[in-house]
Amino acid sequence: MPGSDSTAHKSKSRRPKYSQFSQQELPAFKLILTPGYVISTFIVVGLIFVPIGLISLFASETVVEIVDRYDNECIPKDFRDNRVEFIKNKQTNKSCTRTFTVPKQMKSPIFIYYQLENFYQNHRRYVKSRSDKQLQSKKNAAHIRECKPMGETDNKDPIIPCGLIAWSLFNDTYGFSVKGKDLKVNKRDIAWGSDKNYKFGADVFPKNFQVGDVGGKSLNSSIPLSEQEDLIVWMRTAALSTFRKLYGKIEDDLQANDVITVVIENNYNTYDFKGTKSLVLSTTSWIGGKNDFLGVTFITIGGICLFLAITFILLYVIKPRPLGDPSYLSWNRNSTPTPGR
C-alpha cells in the first residue's frame, strides 16, 4: 500500500498506552467453591460460633434481675376503676410501698431501671420535638422551631428545655430500704459522659419549664442542664415502645433472701394509654445486662453450619461428582436447563 510507512508512523500515537488496567488484565484471585472449601468453612464457623454462644449464655445467666410491675398495685382499691382520674388528681396520695426478696446474691453496682411498656418514645411527633441547639448553649435559647408543639409558653416565652420529650419527663421516684435501713441510691453518672459534656450545656438553665401540672417532672431551675441527669437519660429516646431507663445505682451488695422495701411515688400517667410501669434491679456481666438472645443466636447459627457441613460431607461421600464436569453445563444437557450460573 503506498504511503503505508507514513500512516504507520503517524498512528503510533493512536495506539493507546498499555496498562494492566486498560487491558483488563489486573491480577485477580477467584475462589472456587469446591466441596472441601465449603465444608471446612462451615465447620470452622460452627466451631467458633457454638462456644461463643455458650459463653454468652452463661454470662447472661449470671446476671441477677428483679422486675416488679407496680402500675396496677400502686392504685388504691377505691380508684381501681378510675385510674386516670386518680393519677391526674393532685390531691390523692400517690405513695405506695412494694416489697420483694432478692433471689441470689447481687454484687454492686446494682442498677435501678424503670421500665415503661407501650410508650412510644419513637413516635415521629415525639422524637422530633426537641432542640439540640437550645440544649447545648445558652445563646440558642430562642431555638425552638423544632420543638413544636411545646416550644413556648402561652406568653410566647421560649421554654428551656423545650419540646415534648423534655415536657413528658418521667417523674416517679423510688426509695429503697433493706431490713429497715435505707439504701443509698447514687443518681450521679447515670447519663453518658458525652451527653453531659457536649450535648447539654453547663450554662443552660431551665426556664419557663412546666411545674408538673400535666406531664412529667419539673426541673430545678438553678441546676444547669448538664447536671440534670434524669433529663439527659430521658432525652435519649428509646427505639422500642418497651424500654428501660437508668434511674440510679445502689452501691452496696445485696444478699440472697434480703427483703427490699421500695417506697414509690407513683406520679407518672401511663394509665391513659394502658402502658405499664415496672421497677428493675439488675447486676451486670461482661456482656451487659441479661440478654439470652445473643447466646441463642450464636448457638443456632453455629449449629446450622455444623449441620450443613455434615450434610455436605455425607453427600460428598455418597454421591461424589467430579469438579468442573462439563456434562452438567446447560447446553450439554438438553433436557432440563437450570437457571443460574
Binding site: P2, S4, T7, A8, S11, K12, R14, R15, P16, F21, S22, Q23, Q24, L26, A28, K30, L31, Y113, Q115, F119, Y120, Q121, N122, H123, R124, R125, Y126, V127, P149, M150, L164, W167, S168, V214, G215, R236, T237, A238, A239, L240, S241, T242, F243, R244, N269, D272, F273, K274, G288, G289, K290, N291, F293, L294, T297, L329, S330, W331, P339, R341
Partner: protein
C-alpha cells in the same frame, strides 16, 4: 424551496440567507440553565426525584433533612450539566476557530481578507492550495487551464482519494480580471444534506456573452471542510453558508439507542414504583387508623384536637418520602459512569487493534455495550467486511477465450501475453476499456512512478492489471486522457462520463480517439446490466458461462463492452444528456433514462474476474459466534453465485449433505409467492432435523416478498438461522433490519461502505469496519473495528462482561436501597406507624454514597470467567442472550435477598442491646453497620 443566488452582488446578497457563521452549539450563555434543566427533567426518573425533593421541603412530613435528597439530586444534575457545558464549550471553541479563520473574498470588486464568518451567499471566495473550504462553493475558476481542481473530501465522507472538480462550461477560460467582475444567477435547491447531489443551474448575466443555462452538478462544487489539493488556486461562489451547508445539514444528534438492559431496568423501576405506592397506601392507611385509635390517647404526643384538611395525607406522604429511597437516585449516574468505562476498555483493547494500520477499535456510542451480549442476529455486508476488499485481477475471458484458468493469474498467462504482442484487436480493445472506462486519477509521485487514486477498488485493480499488460494509463488532464501502449502514446478525449449508480449497475464513457476522430462508447458493468444490451447478432452464451464459472470460484465479475457511435447520434444524444443533467427534479432518474438510450447494441468484449480475498479469521469467527447462538444474514450487492461461494468458504453455510440451501426466486408476484411457500414448507419440516438450512434470495424477489408477502417472509426469517440476500440495495438492507427488529430480535449490523450506513443506523447495534471503502460506515456506527474477526472479541468478551457487570450493578443498586428501606419500614411498625426515620440524614447519605456506591465500582473490573474460557465455550453467551442475569425473576431474587437481609439485620439490631435498653441512635447505628457489612459481603460474594 429554490434559491436564486446573485453572484458578486453586494446589495441583494446581504440579509436573505444566513452568514457563514458556524454554530454547533446547543446552548447559549443565556439559555443554558433553563434549556438544560428542561432536558434533564423530561426524563421520568428525574421528575420523580424532583417531586420527592420538593415534598421534602415540607418539614411536617419529611423524615430526614431535605439535604439528603437535594444534595445528590443537585450533584447529579450538576454533573450532567457540567458535562454538557464542557462539550458545548469545546464546540464553541472549534466553531470560533473556524469562524475567525481569514479568507480572501471579493467585496466591491476588490479582493479582501475577511473572517470566514462574514462570508455571505453570493460572495466569491478565493482559495489557495491546501486551504480548507469555508462554505459550500460553486467553482468558477481554477489555476488549471482545463478548469479542473482536486479536493480531498476525507472530512466529509472519509474517502481519502482525491476527487476532481470541474468549473462549469460557461466559466471556462475566464481570466483573473474577469473573475473579479463576474455577475450571474445560480439557481439551486434549498439546503439539504445530500453530499452526492447538487442540482443547480448557472446563468451568467451580460456583459458575458454566453448566457445559456449551464447545468451544475456536485462535480462543480467544493463543499465545506474539504481541502484543496494539487491546485494552485481556485475560486467559487458561496451557495450555502453557515449551518446550511451540506455538512452542516448532515450534522445533528442521532437518536439515542436504548438497550434491552435499559428497557428492563426501566420496567423494573416501574415495578418498584408500583410496589412503593402499595406500601405507602397500606402503611399510610394503617398509620391513620393507628393515629385515631391509639395516638390520641397518648398525651405525651399532644395531638391537637382540630387538624387541617390535609391531615389525612400527612402520614401517607411521610411514608412516600421514607420509601423514596427504594429507587436509587444514583443508578443512572453510576450506570453511565461504568458504561463509559466499558467503552474505554474497548478503545484500549490491544487485541482489537488492526495490525496493518494500527487503528484501535473505537466505541462511539458509550451507552450500549451490554447490548452486544444480547445480539441474536448479525447482518453482515460481504465486500470489505468478510473479505479484505483488496481486489486482484485474476482471470479474464476475452472473445470466448479463457485466460488464467491454468495459472490462476491471467497476468502471467502466456496466451494472453502472446495475444497482446500479436496485437489481437479484441484483446487490445479489452485492455483499452480496462484502462479508460473508469474514474481513476493517475498521479505522478516524486520518484516518477504512477499512483492511481480510485474510489472503487475494482477499478483500481483493472487499471493496475491493464498497466501490467502494457496498457498504461499515464495521465488524465481534464478531458484528455493519455495511454501508453507498447511505447506509443494514445490520446482520447472524454466527451461524457455516464456514471455508475447502484441502480444502473454499469458505467460508461464516451470517448473520442484524438488520432482518428472516431467516437466510441466504452462500458463496463454487472453481467445483467451489460449482456441484455448486447447487439442482436452476438452470442453471449460463452460470457454467461464465463460469469457462471468465475462466480463459482467466488470471483467478482465485470463485463466489458463497447460500440462505435456516429457523430450525429452523439450530437443528438448529447443535447438530451445536457438537458437531463440540468433538470432540478428527479435528475438521477432522468439521466439514467437518457444513458439507456446510448447504451444499447453493445459489442461485448469479455469478462474480468477479480479476486477479493477473505479476511483472516472470518470462518472461525462465524463458527464461534454461531455456536454462541447468533444467527447470521449476509446482505450483499454482489451476484448470487459469488455470494454463495463466499458463504461456503467462510462457514456461513454448510455444503450439501450437511446443509441445504433453498432459494427464493422468480420475477413475478406469483412465482415469488410459490417459491416462498415452497421454501417455507421445507423449513417447517426441517426445523427438527439437525441440518443447516439456509435460504438465498435476490433483491428483486426480496422486493416483491417484502411488499406483498411480508407475513410469510417474516415467518421465514424467524425459522431460518442463515440467509443470504444478494443484489440488495442499501434501503433493502435497512428494511431487513427493520423486519428482524419488528420480530423483537436484537440485531447487529456490520458493514464497511457507504451503502451499509442506513443498515448500521437502523440496527440496534451498528458496527463499522474502518476499511478501505472510506470511513463512512465507521462514522455512522456505534462501534468501529479494524477487522471482522474482532467482532468475536467485541461480543464475547466486551459485550458479555458489560452485560454481566451492568446486570449486577443495576440489581445491586436496587438491593442496597431496598435493604435500607425495608429496615425503615419494619421500624415504622414498632414506632407507631408514624413515619419516624430510624436513620438520620447523614448516615443515609453516607450509606448511599461512600459505603455502597463507590466500593461497588470494583465490579466494573470483575470477570466471572476468563476471556479464554468464554472464547472456548461461546455457548456461555446463551445466558446473556436470554437475559438470564437481569429479568423479573432474578430481580425477584435480589428483592427477596434484600428482604431477608433486612429482617436479619433488623431483628439482630433490636435485640442485641438487651432490647429493653436499646436507644434509637444505637439501634440505628447497629442496623446501618449491619447493612453495610451485608452489602459488602454481597459484593464480595457476587464479584469473582
Amino acid at each position: 424551496m429554490k434559491r436564486y443566488i446573485y453572484i458578486n452582488d453586494d446589495e441583494t446578497s446581504q440579509d436573505l440567507y444566513c452568514a457563514n457563521r458556524l454554530s454547533n452549539r446547543k446552548y447559549t450563555l443565556m439559555n443554558f440553565l433553563p434549556k438544560n434543566l428542561w432536558e434533564q427533567f423530561s426524563r421520568f426518573m428525574n421528575q420523580y426525584f424532583l417531586l420527592i425533593a420538593c415534598l421534602q421541603l415540607w418539614s411536617l412530613i419529611t423524615p430526614v433533612n431535605p439535604a439528603s435528597t437535594w444534595g445528590p439530586l443537585i450533584f447529579i444534575f450538576a454533573v450532567s450539566a457540567t458535562k454538557e457545558a464542557w462539550d458545548d464549550y469545546n464546540r464553541y471553541l472549534s466553531d470560533k476557530k473556524a469562524n475567525e479563520k481569514e479568507v480572501w473574498v471579493v467585496k466591491q470588486g476588490i479582493k479582501k481578507l475577511i473572517q470566514s464568518q462574514d462570508i455571505r451567499v453570493g460572495n466569491i471566495v478565493w482559495l489557495r492550495e491546501n486551504d480548507e473550504v469555508p462554505c459550500d462553493l460553486v467553482l468558477i475558476g481554477t489555476s488549471d487551464p482545463q478548469g479542473v481542481c482536486y479536493v480531498e473530501t476525507a472530512a466529509l465522507d472519509g474517502e481519502t482519494d482525491l476527487k476532481t472538480r470541474l468549473i462549469p462550461a460557461a466559466c471556462m477560460g475566464m481570466d483573473f480580471e474577469l473573475l473579479h467582475k463576474i455577475k450571474g444567477v445560480i439557481e439551486c435547491p434549498g439546503p439539504d444534506k445530500d453530499i452526492r447531489r447538487f442540482d443547480g443551474n448557472l446563468r451568467l448575466l451580460p456583459p458575458f456573452i454566453d448566457n445559456d443555462v449551464c447545468p451544475l452538478t456536485i462535480k462543480n462544487t467544493i463543499l465545506q471542510s474539504c481541502y484543496l489539493r494539487n491546485t494552485e488556486w481556485a475560486c467559487g461562489v458561496a451557495v450555502y453558508t453557515g449551518n446550511e451547508t451540506k455538512l452542516g445539514m448532515t450534522r445533528g444528534i442521532p437518536e439515542p439507542k436504548l438497550t434491552a438492559v435499559d428497557a428492563m431496568i426501566d420496567k423494573l423501576t416501574g415495578a418498584i414504583f408500583v410496589f412503593q405506592i402499595v406500601v405507602v397506601i397500606v402503611l399510610g392507611t394503617a398509620g391513620n387508623v393507628w393515629k385515631d385509635t391509639e395516638a390520641r390517647k397518648q398525651w405525651y404526643v399532644l395531638y391537637p384536637q382540630e387538624f387541617p384538611w390535609y391531615e389525612l395525607l400527612v402520614i401517607p406522604l411521610r411514608f412516600e418520602l421514607l420509601c423514596s429511597i427504594m429507587i436509587p437516585i444514583s443508578i443512572k449516574v453510576s450506570l453511565d459512569l461504568v458504561k463509559s468505562l466499558y467503552a474505554k476498555f474497548i478503545d484500549w483493547d490491544y487485541e482489537m487493534i488492526d495490525p496493518e494500520t494500527d487503528t484501535p477499535s473505537h466505541a462511539t456510542n458509550t451507552a450500549i455495550s451490554e447490548d452486544l451480549a444480547q445480539v441474536e442476529y448479525i447482518l453482515t455486508d460481504k465486500t470489505g467486511t468478510l473479505t479484505e476488499n483488496r481486489m486482484i485481477f485474476r482471470r479474464c475471458c476475452i472473445g470466448g477465450i479463457f485466460y488464467g484458468n491454468e495459472t490462476g493469474d491471467a497476468l502471467k498467462d502466456v496466451g494472453l501475453l502472446n495475444a497482446i504482442t500479436s496485437g489481437s484487436p479484441d484483446v487490445i480493445r479489452f485492455l483499452t476499456v480496462m484502462a479508460v472506462c473508469n474514474t481513476v486519477i493517475p498521479a505522478k509521485s516524486k520518484a516518477g512512478a504512477i499512483l492511481y487514486k480510485a474510489q472503487s477498488q475494482d477499478e483500481e485493480a483493472l487499471v493496475h492489471a491493464a498497466a501490467q499488460l502494457h496498457m498504461v494509463l499515464v495521465n488524465k488532464n481534464a478531458s484528455i486522457l493519455e495511454i501508453k501502449f507498447n511505447g506509443s502514446v494514445l490520446q482520447y478525449e472524454i466527451l461524457e462520463t455516464l456514471e455508475f449508480t447502484s441502480d444502473r449497475k454499469r458505467m460508461s464513457v464516451v470517448v473520442k480517439d484524438c488520432h482518428s476522430g472516431n467516437i466510441s462508447l466504452l462500458s463496463k458493468g454487472a453481467d445483467e446490466a451489460i449482456l441484455p444490451y448486447a447487439h442482436a447478432g452476438q452470442q453471449t452464451r460463452t460470457f454467461v458461462e464465463a460469469v457462471e464459472q468465475y462466480s463459482q470460484l467466488g470471483l467478482r465479475t465485470l463485463c466489458l463492452a463497447w460500440r462505435e457511435v456516429e457523430e450525429d447520434e452523439y450530437q443528438e444524444w448529447s443535447l438530451m444528456f445536457k438537458e437531463a443533467s440540468s433538470t432540478l427534479i428527479d435528475r438521477e432518474w432522468r439521466i439514467a433514462e437518457v444513458c439507456q438510450r446510448l447504451e444499447h447494441d453493445l459489442k461485448v468484449l469479455g469478462v474480468t474476474a477479480i479476486e477479493d480475498r477473505l479476511q483472516d479469521g472470518v470462518p472461525e469467527t462465524i463458527e464461534t459466534l454461531r455456536k454462541a447462538g447468533i444467527n447470521f444474514w449476509m446482505l450483499t450487492g454482489d451476484k448470487q453465485n459469488t455470494a454463495i461461494q463466499i458463504a461456503l468458504s467462510c462457514n456461513f453455510i454448510s455444503p450439501e449433505p450437511k446443509g441445504q440451501l433453498l432459494s427464493i426466486d422468480g420475477k413475478t408476484e406469483d412465482e415469488v409467492c410459490r417459491s416462498l411457500e415452497r421454501v417455507l414448507l421445507t423449513m417447517r419440516i426441517t426445523t427438527s432435523e439437525p441440518k443447516d438450512v439456509a435460504f438465498v434470495v435476490d433483491g428483486w424477489a426480496l422486493e416483491i416478498a417484502l411488499k406483498h408477502y411480508r407475513k410469510a417472509f417474516t415467518e421465514l426469517a424467524i425459522l431460518s438461522r442463515t440467509a443470504i440476500c444478494c443484489r440488495v440495495t442499501p434501503s433493502q438492507k435497512a428494511q431487513l433490519v427493520e423486519l428482524l427488529k419488528s420480530c423483537d430480535y436484537r440485531t447487529l449490523a456490520i458493514g464497511d461502505g457507504g451503502n451499509d450506513v442506513r443498515m448500521i443506523q437502523k440496527a440496534d447495534i451498528g458496527v463499522g469496519i474502518s476499511g478501505r471503502e472510506g470511513l463512512q460506515a465507521a462514522r455512522a456506527a456505534d462501534y468501529s473495528i479494524g477487522k471482522f474477526r474482532f467482532l468475536k472479541r467485541l461480543i464475547l468478551v466486551h459485550g458479555r462482561y458489560s452485560y454481566n457487570r451492568t446486570a449486577f450493578l443495576s440489581q445491586y443498586s436496587f438491593y442496597k436501597s431496598l435493604l435500607i428501606c425495608f429496615i425503615q419500614i419494619f421500624f415504622s411498625f414498632i414506632s407507631g406507624l408514624s413515619g419516624t426515620s430510624l436513620f438520620n440524614s447523614v448516615s443515609l447519605m453516607a450509606y448511599n454514597v461512600f459505603y455502597t456506591s463507590i466500593p461497588v465500582l470494583v465490579s466494573t473490573i470483575d470477570k466471572d470467567l476468563s476471556e479464554g474460557t468464554v472464547m472456548q465455550h461461546p455457548q456461555i453467551l446463551f445466558y446473556c442472550q436470554a437475559g438470564r442475569l437481569l429479568n423479573p425473576s432474578t430481580f425477584a431474587g435480589w428483592f427477596g435477598r434484600s428482604l431477608f437481609h433486612a429482617i436479619v439485620a433488623f431483628v439482630i439490631s433490636i435485640h442485641v442491646y438487651a432490647y429493653e435498653k436499646s436507644e434509637m441512635e444505637e439501634v440505628s447505628m447497629v442496623a446501618l453497620s449491619g447493612c453495610i457489612w451485608l452489602q459488602a459481603f454481597v459484593v464480595a460474594l457476587e464479584t469473582k
